[in-house]
Symmetry: C2
């Protein structure tokens, strides 16, 4: 395979990663709604530790665990912002957080 072939493969992998991150975001939104109704905080350090442990356990290389954790720190930041946004939109109106993709 030459560089162009590998890049085609990467672009296809990226579309799958984007789809999974979107599914993860939908689950995080659902949890955000449940947290709101049960008054649980958005930030839960113990849950984040479990996420990192799960990521490390799933890692078979070639990336070192620490690099995957770096990527996941960013993913978790983004998901936390989404939950906070979800809570804010529930306060300002029920449909504001459900308009789908914003660009």
């Amino acid at each position: 395979m030459d560089i162009a072939d590998w890049r085609k493969k990467i672009d296809e992998i990226d579309r799958q990663i984007v789809a999974l991150i979107s599914q993860r975001a939908e689950a995080a939104q659902a949890i955000g709604k449940l947290k709101k109704s049960t008054n649980l905080p958005v930030y839960e350090p113990n849950r984040e530790r479990i996420i990192f442990d799960n990521v490390r356990a799933a890692n078979k290389g070639p990336l070192p665990d620490i690099e995957l954790v770096h990527i996941y720190e960013r993913i978790i930041d983004v998901m936390r912002a989404l939950q906070q946004d979800e809570l804010a939109s529930q306060r300002s109106g029920p449909s504001a957080g459900e308009t789908g993709k914003k660009s």
Copy 2:
């Protein structure tokens, strides 16, 4: 579904994301080797623009494009470091970059 159910779903999604990021890393390593043999630079801003365009095009929400781009900036940083590591290990010996997971 309650919070525990959603978290189980997220943990399963995360294992799939980790597997895809690992596949992506393997492809980036392969490209790193080809770049070395063709003297192409590790950092190629035009290729990065194509990656971000592909990510935005694949995004169907609920995350805003900008948040996915934030995640991808981190993914690309990690992949670039891996390619640089690959080049360095090729200089110091053929097998040093191929020992799989490092922790």
